[in-house]
């Protein structure tokens, strides 16, 4: 095994730990919706929410980086350049995350001054990490970019997937620099913040996971390079062709000009197209191999990624993206429903697929199957679908009673939150959240014991 792949396994381990913290923080936040006063003035909702969403971003980012460190040596037939530096940066990143989490939990808030921005909490959703930690993330991503570009240069070989990956790294790195901004004007602040959040998540991340899935398909099903590269280009053309101006659906209501209503509505309505293409691609490839593989969980998680991305990102996004609907659905639990489904489908499932693939090779397991992974798969996916459905019910009730009828005043907000359908949805979300947490437990147990539960014959790995 390459050193790069050993580093990848460390990234995967850290990603799974952060996944767990995300689940715990999510359960706490969900409980705060159900039980008023739960942890009030001790660990307020804002803190559990920050822990929930920031660990989500970080575990997905670490999953992406681990995936690339895993596939890179195989793609270029050589060790990753500067991999020792990458390993050092991994430990620095883990240390920084631990310190930031402790500060969030213990210190929580600072005064209205620059010290708070640098050392406590920047208070901007998803990028709350204080600036010193944000600098750390920039350095880690810079080393990651260096690893990939330098290895490609040394290998004197640019495959189609590597070409897309390298071009994608530039905006991935540059957009994160927006995390440092502190703009007084809220409209302008949100304008740039959405460049970061949307163009990362619905642009560079989509392309990144497209590259990772392309690597996976070749390893998992032995799909021809020509086919995966063709699909990757189609995906990039459609993702960026629709997603760049699809950014406009975040500019409907922040003070920006009215033309964004038409532009954002049109292009974001087209955003499901590449996601539908991914479903067609995955089903076609799996079908031509009659679902035969030596790594069932990896294949099933990859299929979950394709369908989850299309349904969660595409269909659920489309459902609320036209301005006529978004005027009422925006900023309600409807958005939360879409957000959960989209992040889970588009990214989390794909990373879990790669982790199963990597562990098969790292532990030299001839065939990965059995019953336990199915429990993890079922509990996690049913838990997620349950949460998404429950939040959708709450969100539609909120959009109707608070927004359409009530007019979004404080009184309307309270009436919306007290509405029977809203309350039932929010209660059901917690129940399905517990189911999801159980699934996480089974997943971790399965990953820890994979290939260790009974003696397996080491096998020379062929394409899985």
């Amino acid at each position: 095994m390459y050193k790069s792949q050993q580093v990848a396994l460390k990234y995967f381990a850290a990603a799974i730990v952060l996944f767990g913290i995300m689940v715990v923080a999510g359960l706490l936040a969900a409980t705060q919706y159900v039980h008023n006063g739960f942890l009030l003035n001790q660990l307020d909702f804002s803190i559990t929410k920050i822990l929930h969403i920031d660990t989500m971003i970080l575990w997905l980012l670490m999953g992406f980086m681990g995936s690339i460190y895993w596939f890179l040596p195989g793609e270029l037939n050589r060790e990753t350049e500067g991999i020792k530096l990458a390993e050092i940066m991994f430990y620095i990143l883990c240390g920084a995350i631990a310190i930031v989490a402790l500060v969030f939990i213990v210190v929580q808030y600072g005064g209205a001054n620059e010290f708070s921005m640098w050392f406590i909490n920047q208070g901007r959703k998803y990028v709350e990490a204080p600036r010193w930690a944000a600098i750390g993330i920039v350095l880690v991503v810079a080393v990651f970019c260096y690893n990939i570009i330098a290895t490609t240069i040394k290998a004197k070989k640019v495959t189609g997937i590597m070409g897309v990956l390298i071009v994608d790294l530039l905006p991935l790195f540059a957009l994160y620099l927006i995390a440092f901004a502190s703009i007084t004007n809220m409209s302008e602040d949100l304008f740039w913040w959405w460049w970061l959040v949307h163009l990362w998540v619905e642009g560079t991340w989509e392309v990144l996971i497209g590259c990772i899935m392309a690597f996976s398909l070749m390893q998992l099903l032995g799909t021809e390079r020509r086919i995966v590269e063709t699909w990757l280009y189609i995906e990039v053309a459609l993702v960026l062709g629709t997603g760049i101006l699809g950014l406009g659906h975040h500019y409907f209501w922040i003070g920006t000009p009215g033309y964004w209503l038409a532009i954002g509505g049109l292009f974001s309505a087209l955003e499901p197209l590449p996601l539908l293409g991914m479903v067609v691609h995955a089903v076609y490839d799996a079908g031509t191999h009659r679902m035969k593989t030596t790594n069932k969980p990896a294949l099933y998680w990859m299929m979950a990624e394709a369908f989850g991305n299309f349904l969660g990102g595409g269909v659920f996004g489309f459902m609320m993206t036209l301005p006529q609907i978004n005027l009422f659905s925006h900023g309600t639990q409807w958005t939360v429903s879409h957000g959960h489904f989209a992040f889970w489908g588009a990214y989390a499932c794909g990373i879990l697929s790669v982790i199963y693939l990597a562990l098969q090779k790292a532990r030299e397991i001839a065939e990965v199957n059995g019953g336990r992974w199915k429990w993890g798969f079922a509990l996690l996916n049913l838990g997620m679908v349950g949460m998404v459905g429950a939040l959708l019910i709450s969100g539609i009730a909120q959009a109707f009673y608070e927004r359409a009828i009530g007019g979004s005043t404080l009184q309307a907000f309270i009436e919306g939150q007290s509405n029977m359908w809203f309350v039932q949805g929010i209660n059901a979300r917690l129940i399905f959240g517990v189911m999801f947490a159980l699934g996480y437990g089974v997943l971790v147990y399965d990953l820890l014991t994979l290939g260790k539960r009974k003696a397996v014959q080491p096998a020379l790995l062929r394409p899985a």
Partner: protein
């Protein structure tokens, strides 16, 4: 067949990305001028010296902010420089207390607490908080609530005490007043202010 040739789709990927990026850059330049304080959609910070309302405009078929005559905040008139300083402080307070991780601004943020886009115009200040806090003005009621939210519980879900100082609370109130003057294309829909009620 040409559609099975990766280079055909590579050309499509590059061209669509480049074209869309160029369009985005042009729109960004125009949007930034519209949302700068004093731009087409966002008033200057000194608008806090004036009365602000939010009324339905039949011609545009949506609600729009309406800027009226002088209505001082905390009984004082802010100069351009003072208003800028107040807004800087207000935004820093909002960020340092991570307000956006419970509330929403223009619908963006968390969804645990009410949207603050037009909070300054909410009739609840006059109806509930002014009597509850024994304040003569809306801004005074808001300051008292922000400094000691646990003293003034309104419903089951309470705002935590974030150790907000008097200076910070005044800055937040000023910020919310300015924010309520921004034209957000009719969001929030049907918001009834104290005046329109």
């Amino acid at each position: 067949m040409i559609t099975q040739d990766p280079s055909f789709w590579r050309a499509g990927a590059i061209s669509s990305t480049v074209v869309m990026s160029i369009v985005l850059i042009f729109l960004t330049v125009d949007s930034l001028s519209a949302i700068a304080p004093g731009g087409r959609n966002v008033p200057r910070y000194t608008v806090i010296n004036q009365a602000i309302d939010y009324q339905f405009d039949a011609a545009r078929n949506r609600s729009v902010p309406v800027i009226g005559g002088e209505q001082l905040l905390f009984g004082r008139k802010y100069s351009e420089k003072e208003a800028q300083a107040l807004m800087d402080k207000g935004k820093l307070t909002i960020q340092s207390r991570a307000c956006i991780d419970c509330h929403t601004f223009f619908g963006n943020g968390a969804y645990y607490a009410p949207d603050l886009t037009k909070a300054w115009l909410d009739p609840v200040w006059k109806q509930m908080w002014m009597p509850m806090t024994q304040s003569n003005t809306r801004e005074e009621a808001m300051v008292k609530f922000l400094m000691d939210p646990d003293k003034y519980p309104t419903w089951g879900r309470q705002m935590p005490n974030l150790r907000i100082t008097r200076v910070e609370a005044e800055a937040i109130v000023g910020y919310l007043k300015w924010m309520s003057s921004i034209d957000a294309n009719g969001f929030p829909f049907g918001f009834k202010t104290a005046e329109t009620q």
